[in-house]
């Protein structure tokens, strides 16, 4: 049996050890928690880097789209107008002053039309920075370009001109989303009517595009992962914590509603 003195000694040693062990466990816990915090910070940094990379990719895509539109416009429109002007001017016979006058008049008309088209192109080039003037203007620019093709009956309701808040990164992504949706409609939908509605409500931006094209099986396309444009739309919407509601029926058309927290 232990003497009282030994018992007290053991008690003191044990109690002190316990009191010293508690800070040890506390430090271990803080270390572990800090490790988690570090992983979280690294993860956040990676996500930010991914986001920045995606923004850069989107910017390049928007620029590509603009350049393609300009190239098409130069080739199909301005180029043709100038060729016609050149032909008309070449065919002028100065001895026949009456005809020459008419041809010069025609050439001037063609030239002024070319100048007008070039101004439109300049606007489009400037439109690369169009998100700087707000998402409302950027969408309007995109729609006006679509309307110029004359291939679709457009019904537009754009209520984003006067919104007081802005988010340049999100604007760029929204613009690219609209471009991709329009590209898909042009390439696959065979639609005749396109309805575009945009509005801002409860810190959310809504973009609705409805067309009367051939439609498609959404689930099948998503499962096959063949719709690269669709995958890209999904990825970008997820990136900005948005929601996509897609309703498509064969021969009836497709309606896409995108909801994005904004700004």
């Amino acid at each position: 049996m232990q003497s009282p003195a030994t018992q007290v000694t053991s008690l003191i040693i044990l109690a002190t050890l316990i009191f010293l062990l508690m800070p040890v466990f506390l430090i271990l816990y803080i270390r572990l928690y800090n490790k988690h915090k570090r992983n979280h910070v690294i993860e956040k940094e990676n996500m930010k880097q991914q986001f920045d990379a995606e923004i850069l990719k989107t910017l390049v895509e928007v620029q590509d789209q603009t350049m393609q539109s300009i190239a098409t416009e130069l080739h199909d429109n301005v180029g043709q107008l100038l060729s016609l002007t050149s032909l008309t001017l070449n065919s002028i016979n100065l001895t026949d002053q009456e005809k020459a006058g008419k041809k010069i008049e025609n050439s001037l008309s063609l030239l002024s039309k070319s100048i007008k088209e070039l101004r439109e192109l300049a606007k489009l080039l400037h439109g690369e920075q169009m998100v700087e003037h707000g998402i409302g203007h950027a969408i309007d620019q995109e729609i006006s370009w679509l309307s110029k093709t004359g291939a679709y009956e457009l019904k537009v309701s754009n209520d984003l001109f006067d919104i007081q808040v802005s988010s340049p990164d999100k604007d760029l992504i929204i613009l690219r989303l609209l471009q991709e949706i329009i590209n898909n409609i042009i390439k696959h939908a065979q639609a005749t009517t396109i309805q575009i509605d945009t509005y801002f409500s409860d810190n959310k931006l809504f973009l609705k595009v409805k067309e009367n094209g051939v439609g498609f099986n959404y689930d099948e396309t998503k499962a096959k992962k063949t719709g690269m444009g669709l995958n890209s739309i999904h990825k970008r919407i997820d990136m900005i914590n948005g929601k996509l509601d897609l309703d498509s029926s064969p021969q009836i058309g497709t309606t896409i509603l995108i909801e994005i927290p904004y700004p």
Binding site: P4, V8, I12, T16, F19, L20, M22, L26, I30, H40
Partner: protein, 229 residues
């Protein structure tokens, strides 16, 4: 000088050297080496504090072992310096996360009250046990509060090289580890005289822990200063 006198002086010198004075001296040397160029007021004061601590411990040993007088009054005076320095350190580190003025003022008020009560009740010749107990509890609370704020803070820090963290760890080990011998001092020790040796060993252990952590924090501080962290 005769051989006897030399021998006698050597014996007295050995007597005044204790593990606590050794670890304090090492900590002071580390502080001088790593903090001498520091521009921060707290870290500069740390050198002065370590010098005061080492001097106090050495003088107390000389008074006790060479002149065989009570040295408690010296420790009672030293407590004031200790309380000011540790409070200042914790104030400085808590300030990185919050405004610690209210809790530091309340804590300092309580410590001052208990010190005054100790002096009033038994004078300077008996150890200020109430002050020691009260300050230990307050410093443990401050340290835990610091860790809580550290955990809550969203920014990640490299704990391994964070001088503030290791300095507070030292404080927590010393004051929390000393809880048993502080709180149950009279109950546990007065009845069994042999436990006085045990108390001495525990204090040595706590001192070794405190000054080891502080020495490491001084080294980390030099690294922090060098890297402009």
């Amino acid at each position: 000088m005769s051989t006897f006198l030399r021998w006698n002086r050597a014996v007295k010198m050995i007597k005044i050297i204790s593990p606590s004075t050794c670890v304090e001296l090492i900590c002071l040397i580390v502080a001088i080496i790593f903090l001498a160029k520091d521009k921060s007021l707290f870290w500069k004061i740390a050198i002065v504090y370590m010098a005061i601590t080492f001097s106090t411990e050495t003088i107390a040993s000389i008074i006790s072992k060479v002149f065989h007088h009570y040295n408690v009054w010296l420790y009672n005076l030293y407590i004031l310096v200790e309380l000011c320095f540790v409070s200042f350190g914790l104030y400085k580190f808590l300030k990185e996360y919050t405004n610690p003025k209210p809790i530091i003022l309340v804590g300092s008020g309580l410590m001052l009250l208990s010190y005054s009560y100790d002096l009033y009740s038994h004078g300077i010749t008996e150890l200020n046990t109430i002050t020691i107990n009260v300050s230990a509890i307050i410093f443990v609370i401050y340290s835990l509060y610091y860790f809580l704020l550290l955990l809550k803070d969203q920014n990640f820090i490299q704990l391994k090289y964070h001088p503030q963290f290791w300095w507070v760890v030292g404080v927590l080990f010393y004051y929390f580890g000393g809880t048993v011998i502080n709180l149950f001092d009279e109950v546990l020790f007065d009845k069994v005289s042999t436990n006085n040796h045990l108390r001495w060993y525990i204090y040595v252990l706590l001192n070794v822990l405190l000054y080891s952590f502080w020495s490491y924090s001084f080294i980390c501080r030099a690294r922090q200063r060098r890297l402009h962290l």
